[in-house]
Symmetry: C2
Subunit: 117 residues, 2 copies
DNA sequence: CCGATTGGTAACTTCCTGGTTACCCATGAA
DNA sequence: TTCATGGGTAACCAGGAAGTTACCAATCGG
């Protein structure tokens, strides 16, 4: 997962409507574009563009049969992202911090002590 | 974590430079804005805007001491997001699918059988 | 073949994002 | 007090994202 794919993935997910599309496709795999669009206020073309964007981010896979394009949610990128973050932020995840304020002030104090030392 | 916060969080993360800022703050907690900006080509004000955006998404916490503003990475939103996804996509995560193509075609076949039934 | 259905492209508008420069405020040190 | 330093606001610009309407292409059923 390079930075370009990561950008595309996160940008794709940073949109309420698109996340809802994924949920719909999770619930009903193989929907057509038109069927999907029926759940939104937006025009069909608007939905189509979002679908294309999701497919570019590999969050959606589509297969045509005849004149209909069947859409499927693909969870793999999210799995990859989750795994990556779990390792990348492991030091912090281990802490399982709740009281942010206390920790931040603790670090500020440390820095202050370090400076004056 | 409501949809607004989720939008802000994902949008904040969907930018290479901002992710790098988080990494820098992870490595050196308490950096000033100026120190952070020194790692980028961009103007100081450009960096400042990104910092403000990160703080709005609660990925960064800042405390002023004197005239300097000290910045700290806050992992909590990422933890929350990870936990949420783990449950939300649990059905798919359990599968641990590798061969997407096979699965997709399997579903397509099911749909076809269902249709012709 | 003919018409309805599904999908897609093209062109356009609107608004937001990412970045800039210019300028101002507050603070710490000599 | 003076002035260099760190921080911040305002105004602006270019480009991309999100959405629209109008139109075209392919396919399936009668």
């Amino acid at each position: 997962m390079n930075d370009d794919r990561l950008d595309a993935l996160l940008a794709a997910l940073a949109h309420r409507g698109r996340r809802r599309m994924l949920d719909l496709l999770m619930a009903a795999p193989g929907m057509s574009v038109k069927a999907l669009a029926s759940h939104f206020e937006m025009s069909r073309i608007g939905v189509l563009k979002h679908v294309d964007l999701l497919e570019a981010a590999e969050l959606v896979v589509s297969r045509r049969r005849g004149r209909t394009r069947h859409l499927y949610f693909n969870p793999v990128p999210i799995q990859l992202l989750r795994d990556r973050w779990t390792t990348h932020y492991s030091a912090f995840f281990a802490e399982r911090v709740v009281d942010v304020k206390a920790r931040v002030e603790g670090r500020a104090r440390e820095a202050e002590e370090h400076k004056s030392a």
